[in-house]
Amino acid sequence: MANKNNEALKQPMWVNNPVLVQILGICSALAVTAQLKPAIVMGLSVTIIVAMANVIISLLRKTIPNRIRIIIQLVVVAALVTIVSEILKAFAYDVSVQLSVYVGLIITNCILMGRLEAFAMQNGPWASFLDGIGNGLGYAAILIVVAFVRELFGSGTLFGFQVVPQSWYEAGYLNNGLMIMPPMALVLVGCVIWFHRAKNKDLQEN
């Protein structure tokens, strides 16, 4: 049993990463990764929501009527998203402004529904909790990698602090405007997937 819990936590971090293997949550991965700070906040929010929702649904799993289970999952997720959104507005207002609608759109993040349907409905609360944490952190890791590259080359900053020295700009260096745009985020996610497939050869499709 402990081994299974361990798997639930570790698998989604790398080998069965929700973004890289199941290609879920791509939309928000493109939208919030122009800078590191919102990307980290987004990753943490999703981690907390997915873990909590997993626990709640797992506790309710034997009482939920099968035919209305999606609605119940949505209600639980929506309630959690609203709480997180309010907390962000109260304690990290500028980040919540940067994230704008994407906090609310966590409700539609496929990772959530995917984990609730595929895992929490069949497993106990502790395993579900670990699965949620693993998936959330796996998602957050990709966001952070992409946001690091995008902010460094797109704005010359990290966490808002200028990293590229001013003398470079005077010598003719320019920020890469394409990095700020979503298409480049898609290319970067593609490159991460490329690297991931190269390391996990059994995932390569023919």
Partner: protein
Amino acid sequence: MNLRNWLDSIRPNFDEGGKLHAFRSVYEGFESFLYVPNATSKCGTNIHDAFDSKRMMIMVVIALCPAMLFGMYNVGYQHYIAANLEVSFWPVFGYGFLAVLPRIIVSYLVGLAIEFTVAQWKHEEIQEGYLVSGFIIPMIVPATCPLWILAIAVAFSVIIAKEIFGGTGMNFLNVALITRAFIFFAYPSVITGETVWVVDHAICGLGANIDGLTAATALGTASTTAAVPAFSMNMVWGFIPGSVGETSVIAIALGALLLLYTGIASWKTMLSVFAGGILMALVFNTWGPDNAMAQMPWYEHICLGGFCFGAVFMATDPVTSARTEAGKWIYGLLIGVMAITIRVMNPGYPEGMMLAILLMNCFAPLIDWCVVQRNVNKRAKRINK
């Protein structure tokens, strides 16, 4: 010892286990560059045409030469006009040559280095596809484009637009245009505006340093001011500011003749791009909004910007264009229509040719599929009758 014997004598070094094995693909690349490969097929019946892709690529490069040489001259010509200096032909050409040459070198160095590395890594032969792309890239950027930006853009497009799809012949987007699009979106300040089109500094003692030089392209002027630029023969000859190779209609026409005569470019695609452009320009003249771009006459739309260059050398790229005969008409027509539409309707992009061709590159497989399916259905109906 002649060249053939010398090549044979150094060959063992590059074979498996040889000390220069890491450069096998380079050796084979140069050997087949110099000589016709002597490998023959081992089974079945094969018919080989002497006109292989290598000959085809070289033909395209030759067709590009008039536009390139004229572009070099024009770079010098625009500079000396801006500097208010009267000089003879050779300094003008020499200045332009020195201004453009570093971009050609960087384009080939970066692109071929990636091609060679990938070929060695995947144990494949070097493909000659980059010969043309590497020649086109310096022609479709301004002569002032910084070399490091060009290098990054070339690396991006060769890897992302070509090698990950399987190399030459497998790319569905035009590599040269992706390079330009990358620069256009990543570093817009070096490829748009009024300060990039004419070189403003002396090179190797030629020319002069000019402070605060501004020179807009005719399309740029039309999109920022409300006036339609007056048509002049300079727009046909090409003595106007612009990207290196795109200005001269005459020089591009010479290349077009060679491409059509040798059958490399499809006359259907080429003709229909022009037809689409003219059609859309006339539509906007009649019903369009009241701005300079919409009111510009069709012959000016055709002569200005990259329309001719794109129609002749980019839209007809046999890899990325539609391959069915009916598809070529649709594909070309839509490129012309989209290019003029983008110019008129989107004030942010005074030049629409690049985006139009890239957009239609994406749709070319769909067009081909529809044409083939229509034929299949037609024949199925005939057999069921």
